[in-house]
Subunit: 364 residues, 4 copies
């Protein structure tokens, strides 16, 4: 059974509530990074705004942000910190046309109940059956490889285990990775694996702790900093395997963001968290499926900026977001989105990625 794209249904703007709704109110921001009072804040769902009598969709949305009407009538969804003095910010805190704002939570509903393919399910736990989720994911990834864009978000555990690292490398090489977002640690330990076959000084296959192995990741960082960039390091040191290697060789873009836990950091890591958020959101803008693996920090950050829909060639489609983590606490943080397009799985991410590689790559 191959992947079936759910069809999107626009609201019926001929209904009285839409016809009778007022235009949205607007106020001008008086200061950079500060909203006017009673600013509207967005959700992850499609939202329509009545402007000059027409209902306009904010096309690239995200949660907890403001809507700015540009000179050309375009609607930009802008984080508070990115508001500029003079921006015309939409006001209103109701969602059913009362103030010219309509939140459309049911755009995909009919199809989902018809096909029962990606139904929202409650209460994911270690005891949930995930067989169909795997099968659905395989079909989705094959579809997205051809027609969409798959963004991966990873914690460092992937670099600790050789099978997981190999599986991720293979997914890159077979075209299932259109972008990657991670932190300094994933890149560092993956490159450590490439140079020294260890992660944090432990052999990534045998788990053997190498003599003075606690120097390994520091040495790798030092060498990358000396080389000036990850691609230069890979070139100069003859790295031949790993996730970062595969990304660089296949021209897959990546964003590495910082955290106060970092050693180093590597040159590519964006030190400023909010510039990091901007770079992440720019990656998310292209994604049609996002897969978050074994990282509470990056998963929540990504979830905050990922809407439930994407417009491709003028057509609204779901933006699928997966969370895979061994902790129910973490998956439930994102699962609370309650959207049909958010799927959570409770497992070890190493096992997950090996299953996925076997599920989508022939003869893996």
């Amino acid at each position: 059974m191959s992947f079936q794209m759910p069809e999107y249904h626009e609201p019926d703007f001929k209904e009285a509530k839409f016809q009778n709704a007022p235009d949205v109110k607007v106020a001008v921001a008086e200061k950079d990074g500060v909203n006017p009072d009673y600013y509207h804040s967005t959700s992850m769902y499609p939202e329509y705004f009545k402007i000059d009598g027409n209902w306009v969709l904010a096309e690239e949305s995200r949660m907890d942000s403001s809507v700015v009407i540009r000179e050309d009538g375009r609607l930009d969804v802008v984080e508070m910190r990115n508001i500029k003095k003079g921006d015309r910010v939409i006001l209103g805190r109701s969602e059913n046309c009362e103030e010219g704002i309509y939140l459309h939570t049911t755009g995909f509903e009919e199809e989902s109940s018809a096909t029962d393919n990606f139904v929202f399910r409650y209460g994911r736990s270690r005891e949930t059956a995930f067989s169909k989720d795997y099968d659905n994911l395989y079909e989705l990834l094959k579809y997205e490889k051809e027609h969409g864009s798959i963004l991966w978000v990873m914690g460092p555990a992937f670099a600790f285990d050789s099978d997981a690292r190999n599986a991720m490398q293979a997914l890159v090489e077979h075209g299932f990775v259109d972008g990657l977002m991670a932190g300094n640690a994933l890149a560092t330990h993956d490159l450590e694996g490439g140079l020294l076959k260890t992660a944090l000084g432990q052999d990534i296959y045998t788990q053997e702790l190498k003599p003075n192995g606690h120097y390994n990741h520091l040495d790798v960082i030092n060498l990358v900093r000396r080389s000036g960039s990850i691609p230069s390091f890979i070139e100069e040191h003859g790295i031949k395997d790993g996730i970062m290697y595969a990304l660089v060789k296949n021209d897959v873009p990546f964003v590495l963001t910082s955290s106060i836990r970092d050693d180093g950091p590597l040159p590519e890591v964006i030190a400023n968290a909010y510039e990091g958020q901007n770079a992440m959101r720019n990656m998310v803008r292209k994604a049609t499926t996002v897969i978050c693996l074994a990282t509470q920090l990056h998963t929540i950050a990504t979830g905050n900026m990922t809407p439930s829909f994407r417009i491709v060639d003028g057509v609204v489609r779901p933006l699928y977001i997966y969370t895979i983590d061994i902790s129910e606490f973490v998956v439930n943080k994102l699962h609370d989105r309650g959207s049909l397009s958010a799927i959570s799985m409770v497992t070890n991410a190493q096992d997950f990625i090996v299953h996925v590689a076997k599920g989508v790559i022939d003869n893996y």
Copy 2:
């Protein structure tokens, strides 16, 4: 790389400490189920006792039990509750020959460091690399299928997911299962899957909750009780798949033990917990590898009664015990054994079992 059996080294009984040691002291139990004061209590390691000047190994040991010298000189390792009035119980609480007792913790040491195959490793967590553990396990299972005996201990989660249930069925059918120990719930929900394709009323593939599905497991229990046994139920209701089905069809023995959580129970469940322990220990006596999956209760119970060694054809070999659970808390409970033969993996047991089936069954 195929499995290499570690070689066992007996203590060197010519050493002075063995030569100079006294014979063990013994006292007679005065009451059923009660030890004499200062009784010796066993560990999971091989233990030798000096009797009439000779060092004798207690061949079938387990933790926290007493050693009884039988009429014929044989040493039985007996749980306190199974002590009978008149039993001659060994006394002593030192382990290095002082009282005629020697605890041999290093019998396999040389080999393990030579091959580095099954080295004890500290600090298993969700971030540990498990690639080599999987590979080792595949080799071990292939070896044990031919030369040993593989005992599985399972929580109910296996019956909740169709892929996991299929993988376990396949492992039975391909000869990788020589015994199974579980509770009422695993058997109940597996049979529910066979009769109704659900577990606790949810479709085991789609997760869809069936109308009045909360009756499903109760109905299954009721029908099995009416049939009188699991094999009769399978026969009468035409069950054609599942774990219990495969066990029955392939004459693989199973022990189902009770807990106060049980519905029903099914007829085969041993209501008395201590008779249940006796039945479990009898299964363990035959096992050379034990794999405990996703059950805190049964894992700890099994760990308590499983020694670190087994005698096969007169030769002492390791008894391997694996614990697979998604909770570090649970795996560490058993991991504290600290034996080379205890391996823990932190993951979802459904993913684990599918990996194992793919790892040991050709073209699975």
Copy 3:
């Protein structure tokens, strides 16, 4: 603010659906321990059955059991295993009068929303605010001490920590404990604390591991078995503190049930799990508040047999059930009951019990 008892509202039996409903159908059990087909199975809510034109409440209910009409017209809620050949078992699997059965889930609703005291709340996690839950619990316990019956269900962790053990002892001595249900381990380690100041050989205050401390709990079990009972052991060995001591001295009944994990067991432990369930349910029948602490096994077992209501002096009132555990997975297992009377808190049970002692005992 003192505790306010929510008022119960009977269904309005004058409504057409009640008036027009048929009498329930009944079938006779043909075999001990087996239900007739299409038996009705109960929930934790009040359920009414139309018999000879009258709606009758099953007064002492529990989940997943059958309803038997006795000769005298009384309705007994009976577990499948306790059904006897000849029992007249109610049939039907609808809940809104269609087959003479009415499930009343909203009996307390108005009051709860009025007082907002014990509102059901979603999504308990480590980050939930528990201040008001504590305050509510303190008020509830003070009320129940005078007018109700408080049943405690405990895992072994309480015996491991001296402050927790002292707090629980104090709660018994101050009249806040009307019954206790636990396993062999809680009693064993608590008595070990009384005799040797250790639990599993570790000092319960300093955590220091005593020499040969792994014998301590086995010795305690052996001595209790020799004494023949916990009260005799306490008497003979001059135990002067602890939870079991306080229960015995204050004539508070306790039920100890078995598990396959047990060492020993102590003489009072009920070996047969289903006789254990019967004894537990008999304790639950008297309880108006149940507090389950740090035990997955006993918490789920208790939850299965605990209804959401209790009849005291002919009046229906809520039966409150609390689950306290450090694992979201465990509390959510019970929280899924979704009743106003089920409250979950995610914390270390040792800290919890010390807070409770300080909250309800003057100058503790």
Copy 4:
């Protein structure tokens, strides 16, 4: 029993290995932020370096950093990123005088075994006994209030619960807080509590979700940004309670660092993660006890930069570091330090802080 400071024992530099050791080797950094090859990297323990025949202690150390010899002979422990071209960096990767470097792990050992007060203990879990840890901590905090400096590191959960928030406010007001490190969320939700009595829109006492409550934290951030700073916001909006309020009123310094999860951020948050690390390390330099509560990110970050010792008035003393978290996985991340001064407790941080307030503040 009041707190006893362990006495520090310098190495005996008259021993042959110290006398015969060579001076350390040094190389000059050729590039900002890059170490010379074979640079030495520090641990959390006191480390001595032989320079011109004398053994010199690096006084303000931290893990995973380089040692730079300044013009005046002072030793600075410098993170790789802060190395400047021309810095004279110590080389060497042995720790027992071979290369003029000595790592002193046993400086406090005698005392600790004598008093058994703060002994390192293995295997912290939810079942560990924490009574003595609490008592020790109370004594330590009373001592540190007078003679030391107490630094708190907090996750956002403290702002979610009114009792926890009150307890922390009281600890500030009674002088038990000399500094606080946290993220944007803790400050935001605490100020939300001060302005609106909610956190993330939920009443911090009743847990009631307020209408449009999801705007609350965004509004608070917006208002603080408009005010320009947290103190101005507190002043302008008449905030009268909470953690941030207490810090500002009592002139207790705080450092707020960024993460990619942040909304806003508040004006005081340091956007650049590495400038944030610098600010954190400057706070840590003054601390004698550090308490990390319910935050994986900040706990690990703090642990990385916190040595096991501190020099006060020329005397070396332990720097105590506590980790309190509900997850064994998190506490074990820090517990692996294995130092006598690292104590972990597994519990809900809300319960912990209320216990601490009651334990150190009279009549709380």
